[in-house]
Amino acid sequence: MELILSLGIGLLTATGIYLILRERTFSVLLGITLLSYATNLFIFVSGRLTIGAPPLLVPGQMDHTDAIPQALVLTAIVISFGMTAYVVALALKAKGESGTDHVDAGEQRR
């Protein structure tokens, strides 16, 4: 399972970085989203992978998962979700005002 997860995170990161370097805001947006998925998964596994164990110390039960990465990833998801929504709004505004979704839309050479 470690191998599958790490390959998945790597693939998401690579795709995200490729898309961020594109010249259309839509691709950049998708790239940001994929990159934040990769990061969230990465934070989640920083508490090690455990299966079938509660994130609580239950008397009598020996194994448990680390609860802190779960709390951290929740914060990270909320923040990245909100920020992505803002970028969508901003990209739409820039497209509305310039008529194109190129990242350099309306740039003036001065």
């Binding site: 990061t39 920083s46 508490g47 951290l72 803002y86 901003l90 505004k93 820039a94």
Partner: protein, 509 residues
């Protein structure tokens, strides 16, 4: 446990809530709320500064959970100084905005207060994940503030700024996950305890995580390969917003000082993370900023490049952090924040009188109140270029004095002196274009009515450098004590964790 330490975070937060709740009310209501909150902040900052100046490190455990299990706020000399600086900057900037710029959009005052929440929180927190959260609060507010006023130029500048910072936040999270995965804690003081005990096999990962943190803070403070977003976005922002943003790059430098002083210096394998690359990059940053000051076509962009120069100037001595260099950085941080903020406001004041030309560096109509505006320009230009007798000179002197025995001394000294000279020359050229070569054959434009409030706000910030020069003795003594507290580390760690902490740590695979 005193709850006063929470006020710099809660007061602007409540003000922001009141502003959002009253978004249908008149702008006078929002201005009043924002003004009350911003004017109260310096009073509380003075209280906290007085308590920190007694060499007490105040630790506030949120929900009374002891560190390292709960989140703590820590007030030491350095964070108290940063709170004071934020409060002192916010007052004139808000006054200037109230004179008119805040009418261009509804959200200005709420965003302004949220920006203060993020700044104060970032300076107070003793937990590195909480630092990320407050970074996001201040960034989210700054995204909104940057777009304030509308227009295609601002939308595009915001897009670049937001995407750069989102990528930075992603790196920050990856670094935090690596730190938690290898060290098992996110409390700054606890990290300093754990880092020296890392097993040899994990040391490379820990170094990688810390290097990623440095990249994030370098992005925030606009250190060279990551500084090109700054002139674009600061140049597009409304003047009071750009002036408030003058402190955003300093948050990055504060965070670097904090993690380098407390965490990196704790172990042999992390103490030299800044070597040997930081000084050359800082020197290149100064070179880029200085070239920008010469080449920029608008006065606001010139000031934005001056912010880049100030980042390079401070970090050129940060490679080996000792008490002298930390003192000089803290002193220069206060100076450069207030001076560049004042310069942004002055650029706007000049632009208002030039009609369509705005702040472009071209010959234009004669400026009204030439004597007063010229005097303000003179003070700020002398301060920012580091000429005697103002605080810029004293700050640069302290910076240069602190590296005199290091192997980088020749490079740093040469760069700082040459960049001072070039910035001074560029300022002289801009003065001559803006003030001394008016197109007299053209009829003067209809000057907009001058505002007493704007003038008052500008005078407050222009006076900052001369006042700082007069009180240099006490400010640098305070900065030295703050640097001592940062470098000594032990006091900070004991204040947060207690003396000889016994923390049970589980062994992880």
């Amino acid at each position: 446990m005193s709850h006063v330490i929470l006020v710099p975070i809660l007061l602007p937060l409540f003000a922001a809530i009141l502003c959002i709740a009253g978004h249908k009310r008149s702008i006078a209501y929002r201005r009043a709320v924002s003004l009350v909150s911003t004017l109260l902040l310096p009073a509380f900052a003075v209280m906290l500064l007085a308590s920190a100046a007694r060499d007490e490190i105040t630790v506030y455990a949120m929900g009374n959970w002891p560190a390292p299990f709960g989140i703590v706020l820590v007030l030491d000399r350095l964070s108290a100084a940063m709170l004071m600086l934020t409060a002192l900057l916010a007052v004139p900037v808000l006054l200037y905005a109230i004179a008119g710029a805040d009418e261009k959009g509804r959200g200005f005052h709420a965003l302004f207060q949220l920006q203060l929440v993020g700044l104060n929180g970032a300076f107070l927190t003793g937990d590195i994940f909480n630092l990320f959260v407050f970074f996001e609060v201040l960034l989210a507010a700054s995204y909104g503030l940057l777009a304030h006023g509308g227009g295609l130029l601002r939308a595009r500048a915001s897009l670049v700024y937001v995407i750069m910072n989102l990528a930075g936040s992603t790196l920050f999270l990856i670094a935090l996950a690596l730190i938690y995965g290898t060290l098992g804690t996110l409390n700054i003081a606890d990290l300093a305890v754990v880092v020296p005990q890392v097993a040899l096999s994990d040391q490379a990962l820990v170094r990688t995580a810390f290097a990623l943190l440095i990249v994030v803070f370098a992005l925030k403070s606009a250190l060279l390969p990551l500084s090109f977003w700054l002139p674009l976005s600061y140049g597009a922002a409304v003047a009071p917003v750009a002036a408030l943003f003058a402190i955003l790059t300093k948050v990055g430098i504060y965070a670097l000082l904090r993690v380098a002083g407390i965490i990196f210096s704790a172990a042999d394998f992390t103490v030299n993370l800044f070597e040997p690359w930081l000084v050359p990059i800082a020197i290149a940053t100064i070179a880029l900023g200085t070239a920008g000051v010469l080449a920029a076509a608008r006065l606001t962009v010139v000031v934005a490049y001056l912010v880049v120069v100030s980042t390079g100037t401070m970090l050129s001595v940060a490679s080996h952090l000792d008490i002298n260099s930390a003192t000089a950085i803290i002193y220069y941080m206060v100076h450069s924040t207030l001076v560049t903020a004042g310069f942004f406001l002055l650029a706007d004041t000049i632009a208002r009188q030039r009609g369509e030309l705005e702040d472009r560096l071209q010959r234009g109509p004669r400026v009204k109140n030439l004597a007063q505006i010229g005097a303000a320009f003179l003070v700020l230009a002398v301060a920012v270029s580091g000429m005697p007798p103002l605080s810029g000179f004293l700050g640069k002197f302290m910076l240069m004095h602190s590296v005199q025995s290091s192997r980088w001394a020749v490079g740093v000294w040469t760069t700082l002196l040459v960049s001072s000279l070039i910035v001074g020359l560029a300022m002289a050229r801009h003065v001559s274009v803006l003030f001394w070569e008016p197109k007299v054959d053209e009829p003067p434009p209809a000057y907009p009515p001058s505002s007493k409030l704007r003038a008052f706000a500008l005078i407050l910030l222009v006076a900052a450098s001369p006042v700082l020069t007069l009180v240099t003795g006490s400010v640098s003594a305070y900065a030295r004590a703050a640097a001592d507290q940062l470098i000594t580390r032990q006091l900070y760690i004991e204040a947060v964790l207690g003396i000889s902490p016994q923390i049970f740590r589980e062994r992880r695979p």
